[in-house]
């Protein structure tokens, strides 16, 4: 009998990185499916292109560093899918590929790979293309157009490094009523028109793929939280603080500021709160820290929307909180069991 020597504990739980990540991908699939149903071939092509670029980039850097493949941990897949969901559905594929490459290369590998990144990689990719392609990232196409499953949006196959064609004519051909080409947040900001909750829930608004399916996103989040693959406290803190801030503003000036419901359902807040703010590597770990972190995201999002130059603030709010996470962790170390409470460091 050959004996094995190990140190305790001799039992491990069945949790593993692969398992957690796989479930996150799984819970994102309904959101993806809904966006494809809404926007058709263009959205599907974008999803596949961005995700494939993320995977290829990760593999490339594995090769370069002579390391075994890390695709099996599924985290690059998550980055790809999340990134695609934050982009306009008709976003040119080559720009999507750039976003994917930047997300993995700069957002993740540069920091040292899985777990070492300070910022959410998908948001790094998204921030990069937002700065590089300000026109394309605000070019929207209508949902539920008649030919969405038979033809691509003209912008999808833009030749790399070229300016995408104008979509206005194509949009007119699609004959969709009341398409404005602006997101609900932009319309609120510049025209003071708010969309109703029903518009959001039915997907009848102009937005990026992942911004129009609040119910599916929440369902995915609840599934993950129930299986303990996600820290629900962060999501609750983000949504709660955003709603509370919005409510306070509405109390002050109801004619100008929208309702908390609008704030919660519009833009990428739902997707951000459920799938991005909860990214494990870039959020704090201490019990108090996660609440503070979530609250910062919620408040900053609303502030940017109300007072910033941008229409949407979730992305920068999360990146900002990511940067603060190590600091939050540092100052919210839990009181050690048995330590006296009177602020006395032992």
């Amino acid at each position: 009998m050959s004996m094995e020597l190990r140190t305790s504990p001799h039992l491990v739980s069945d949790r593993s990185v692969e398992r957690i990540m796989k479930h996150v991908v799984l819970s994102l699939l309904p959101v993806c499916a809904f966006s494809v149903w809404q926007y058709g071939l263009s959205a599907l092509a974008l999803l596949l292109a961005v995700t494939a670029t993320c995977l290829a980039t990760e593999r490339l850097f594995n090769r370069a560093a002579d390391q075994p493949s890390t695709l099996g941990d599924w985290s690059a897949t998550i980055t790809g899918v999340l990134l695609a969901l934050t982009l306009p559905p008709a976003f040119p594929l080559w720009m999507g590929a750039v976003a994917g490459f930047v997300a993995i290369a700069i957002g993740k590998v540069l920091f040292g790979g899985l777990g070492c990144n300070v910022f959410n990689p998908a948001l790094i990719g998204r921030a990069f293309v937002q700065a590089s392609f300000p026109a394309a990232i605000t070019t929207w196409v209508p949902a539920f157009s008649a030919q969405r499953f038979t033809e691509f949006a003209p912008t999808t196959f833009t030749v790399p490094l070229m300016i995408p064609p104008d979509v206005a004519d194509w949009v007119k051909q699609q004959a969709v009523d009341a398409f404005t080409g602006a997101t609900p947040l932009a319309r609120w900001k510049f025209e003071n028109v708010t969309a109703s909750a029903w518009d959001f829930l039915s997907g009848a608004v102009t937005a990026s793929a992942g911004e129009t399916s609040a119910i599916l996103i929440l369902a995915g989040g609840i599934y993950l939280a129930a299986r303990k693959f996600m820290d629900w406290r962060i999501t609750v803190a983000v949504l709660g603080s955003a709603a509370l801030t919005a409510w306070l503003f509405q109390m002050v000036d109801p004619s100008h500021y929208p309702s908390p419901t609008f704030v919660l359902l519009s833009g990428g807040l739902m997707l951000g709160a459920v799938f991005m703010a909860t990214d494990m590597a870039t959020s704090p770990v201490t019990p108090l820290g996660v609440w503070i972190y979530g609250a910062v995201i919620g408040v900053v999002t609303v502030m940017i929307r109300y007072f910033g130059g941008l229409t949407e603030g979730v992305m920068y709010a999360i990146l900002f909180a990511n940067a603060m996470a190590p600091l939050i962790d540092k100052y919210t170390q839990p009181r050690v069991f048995g330590a006296r409470q009177q602020g006395k460091k032992q």
């Binding site: 001799h10 777990g115 050690v336």
Partner: protein
Amino acid sequence: MKAEVKLDDLPLQDGEGRKPSAAPARRERAAHAGRRSLLFRLASLFRSKGTFAHGIHPAYHKETGSLPIRRLPFASHLVVPLAQHIGKPALCCVNVGQEVSRGEVIATADGRISLPVHAPATGVVEAIGLMPAASGKMEECITLRVYQADGQEVRVRKPRDVDAMNRQELLAAIQHTGLCGLGGATFPAHVKLDVPAEMGIDTLVVNGAECEPFLTCDHRIMVERTQDLMRGIRYAMRASGAPRAIIGIEDNKPDAIAAIAAALPDDGSISVQALETKYPQGAEDTLIYALLGREIPAGQRPAAVGALVNNVMTLAYLGRLLPAGEGLVERVLTVAGPAVESPGNYIVPIGTPLRFLLEQVGATSSAKEIILGGPMMGMTVSSLDVPVTKGTSGVLAFAAAATAGEAPRVYPCIGCGECVKVCPRFLNPAQLGLLSGKREYVEMAAQFNLDRCFECGCCSYVCPSHIPLVQQFRVAKAYNRKNPVT
């Protein structure tokens, strides 16, 4: 409850100025305990079982809990180490070739913090010398060849009237039984019970939690030897001066709770309390918190909050051995694990080699990992020649895949925070792990309370990246011990 109220009513020391006596410390302690217990009592309103914060729910595998204790035959040779307890090793008082009878003292206690060793079987001393021990080192042992034809009853015994003894005589008699903490701590029982009166122990906490997966020997002892246990508790209360005792039992052992509840004395001095089934419920500080709502200050013993913790197995043997005037020659332990054909609880003579024990229970050839103690905190042995000692509460045989599996891939920390959520000492294992990766061992102790880690294993258990956190913490502690900061 009465004793606790008394503590709460003690005046606080504010404004009094510090007097260099024991009293302020005690009052401070009482105030500390009192504050916690108020919170705790509020919390208790909403739940019926005691528990603590954090911890884990591993698969318990307590199947052997329903099997009655059985006796195993004697091995041909028994290997009895002289150092089976914490403290000075016993002094051998027999010679090679000498015949000994079961229960006879073969090694005497060397001073107060030491214990005698009794012959676990009638036979002849075959060798005295170094033999492999559980630690992996060689240790001084007495090897006995057992007379298989002998009836093997304990012949050396001096029955006595325990009730007539005074406290000193009682403590001396306890030392003579050779009893130490049988839960695995192996601290000599008489030393542990000998708390100075000024410490003011108000509660004897009897640990029947048995939170380690697989182990059920404490469970069976509570069910089958309830009377021994009650007697032992009364002796321990007298020896330590504790006016009351609380037996804490995890609620996955309802039959043990029922058996004990039926045997409680009418005067109300002993009570039983169900605890949530959660690991590590049976660790001293979590148990005291769960039962009394008191938090042991960092680096102090349970006596600092007026409590004393003893394991049920220890007290059951105390109740059995003391009136009979016998020494500890055998113990009940759990033999289990996926690689064991007939798992169960067995009475095993001290000194039985693991090889013999595992043959008896039909350990399969797939057994790759033999663990002494429980799977969360026990240790693996390198040799099957290692004997069962007083502190062996379980012997588990695992095939490789059943435990850590085929060496799961270790990922970097993904910051999931699970380890922080489960650490019963409220440490930040993720941070400690990161620092240990950078070999910043001093920083780990100075900033992140490395020394408070008691290696319960919760953090390693939950880590999805399979980082060997506890192992890293042991390395860091060992480094800090060798290189003390001056």
